[in-house]
Amino acid sequence: MAKQLLLGNEAIAWGAIAAGVKVATAYPGTPSTEIFSTLAAQAKHYGFHAEWCVNEKVALEVAYGSAISGARTLVTMKQVGLNVAADPLLSGTYLGVKGGLVLVVADDPGPHSSQTEQDTRQFAGFAKVPVLDPSDPQEAMEMVIEAFDISEKYHLPVILRPTTRVCHVGQDVELPEITSRNSEVRFEKGGDWVIFPSVSLRKHGELLESLKALGQEFSTSRFNYREGQGEYAIACSGVSYHYVKEALHRLNIIDNTEILKISTPYPFPEELAAQYLKKHERLLVIEEQDPVLEDAMLRLAGKIGLHLHLSGKHDAMVPGTGELNVDLVTRAIANWSGNNIKTRQVPAKPELPLRRPILCAGCPHRASFYAIRKAAGKKSDTVFTGDIGCYTLGMMPPLSAVDTCLCMGAAITQAQGIGRAEPGRQTIAVLGDSTFFHSGITGVINAVYNQYPLTLVILDNSTTAMTGFQPHPGTGQTATGEIVAAIDLQKVLEGCGLTFIKTVDPVNLKEAVAAIKEALAYDGPAVIIMKRACINLPEVKGLAPVVINIEKCKDCGLCVTEIGCPALVMETGQKPQVLESCAGCGLCIEVCPFDAIQGGDY
């Protein structure tokens, strides 16, 4: 088959299809999202089931149910999603699986789009789950197929851990052959599927035996190998393998270096590594995130009584935080090997404009945050607890309406904690619709149960916007396009015991501000649903740009400085201008004190 340009995420999806995946589940999260989107688009054609789940724990539990029935199952998430799914993972690894269960957990060193730089290889070791670490899209595709085989051979879930520079890297990839697989899928009663203390003890023992055998098998895995020869020794994994090879070329020592590439950090291929370590007393380990290979080698050296001079993260030869790249790796190898590298001093640049990601022109969240600030009072001391989504950007000036952001759903619960610690301190919790379904509901129930006077604003834009507009339970559409009954936020909240629930359009500023004020004054938990669809949804048609009436405009600049909309600009000493990108939401009309802006939705 001809080669084509595939993103790592697309390649992983095609690998899963080739492996005969029967059920695929996921919750979106950068950089993992496109794996499942690709699968969902192919599900009908290849006859498998694909669903966006409410959160990662749910996704893994659904997947686990399918896997113990004998189906090949794939579940995808970003690294912090695995924290949410930790509970079923640890228990499920004890009990094991029947059909292959592969988790693709995408790490984000940098981090570019995440709360932490946590290392899933480390998590895999803690959970006692085998983990594969691909270096590029082609290898990721081959590894996902291998991961299914390993999972079925050892009856264990297996994690494939790509990083951002595998997920969002394009490569000329050869698609695998897709053959139909007929595996018998039937849940057999009477199997070992009930976790129970005495069962756990036995299963734990079996798990350790399996890992020991798999560690031995990994020593001969085609994904682990020694390459080249010479006096220098460098061990590496993941995308760092490519950085190392390029750096060695640049430093002109590629012909005098032996590389050890380890793609199975857990269980560690001790035999392969031991032979390498016996040959090289002095070596450098280059890996992103945590010193996983480095620690495994130090342990191994201790176990077999080797004396090593091992460099890496522990002696700060390799940076301990952030993403690696060719330049950083070249510098690390140059320092370690005593080779020099040419550098060029770039002359100082002129001042560059500060460009940060901001809410889009016409984004309904801008209106919501502006209303929240207005309702709280400009100089008020109200604490705004925020959450994960596009709306985290509400922290940016001039809106400055997000004081905290921790993890999915924490806006609601952190507000309660702040109010409990400091009684009388006003809080407003803000989170989106998809995040509410993911992990907001339990926090609301907690507030109702414990009688906390929560003021919660749910930004309902009818999508999961930040990760690329995925549907969720409130949208009435599934991953594969079926139209289903939408879960009604109002009814969910009523069911949780809320007695104050109001839905408003945030662009109708006066109504929105009044509703929040009312919620703040209400004696008991209260929720405002800010309902207005994301401006980027294909079914949302933006309106014509607003028009500024130059005669009425007094150049006060409030339309620009109050809301920070990218479609409104104003040069010093001139009238404000409306750019083409204006979606005509009309929030600026409400802001203008001189009634000088016309058009818009209101």
């Binding site: 950068t30 390029e246 640049k349 404009p353 460009r355 889009c360 930040m466 920070g564």
Partner: protein, 195 residues
């Protein structure tokens, strides 16, 4: 061959990198592309890296190594100039996307200084008003097509017809004519500049 494409979210750098990458694969080259997606990239700075050749390594271009820089926005071109090698060609759209921080008084956009810096620091600089050419072709959104047409003239290694074909394959029918015109305008502009 290493190519850096930079601009502001929504300008089409990702589309352009796919087009160049796919065209190169059709010519039998290996390709690596890399970009950062997510965290509401609209209005934020975006960079796509494209590496084309044989026996490629990783997806990231080292500093001072890129052979071409396609700057879709003036300030972003300067921000990423460290990637370009001494003999590299820079094709820079003079169109400015001024971020709100400038209007809020938090930062500045010194247009003339930025252009002077580009002129001083690059030997093979071509300044092009791609937005204006796109508008001339029929839509200010056809900036990618203008940049691709201009790139096709600058870079003889990638087949021009293949670039246009791969671009059109990714666009809806109704905008194909406009984009074909925009591609030609970009191409002709660079031909005029380099003649």
């Amino acid at each position: 061959m290493d190519i850096i494409m930079c601009g502001v979210g929504g300008q089409g750098t990702v589309l352009t990198s796919r087009v160049v990458g796919e065209a190169a694969i059709k010519q039998g080259y290996e390709v690596r592309t890399s970009e950062i997606i997510g965290m509401a990239q609209r209005e934020g700075p975006v960079v796509s890296q494209v590496r084309i050749g044989t026996k490629l390594h990783g997806p990231l271009i080292p500093d001072i190594s890129a052979d071409y820089l396609l700057g879709f926005e003036l300030a972003e071109a300067v921000r990423n100039l460290d990637k370009l090698n001494g003999k590299g060609r820079a094709l820079v759209n003079t169109h400015m996307v001024v971020p709100p921080t400038v209007y809020l008084g938090i930062s500045n956009y010194p247009e003339e200084q930025l252009i002077d810096y580009l002129k001083e620091q690059t030997s093979g600089l071509i300044l092009i008003n791609a937005n204006e050419l796109a508008a001339q072709a029929g839509s200010s959104k056809a900036v990618s097509a203008v940049m691709l047409g201009a790139f096709a003239t600058l870079c003889p290694d990638i087949d021009e017809t293949m670039l246009l074909k791969e671009l059109l394959a990714r666009l809806p029918e109704r905008v194909q004519e406009i984009n074909t015109r925009a591609f030609r305008l970009g191409k002709e502009f660079v031909e005029g500049e380099t003649r």
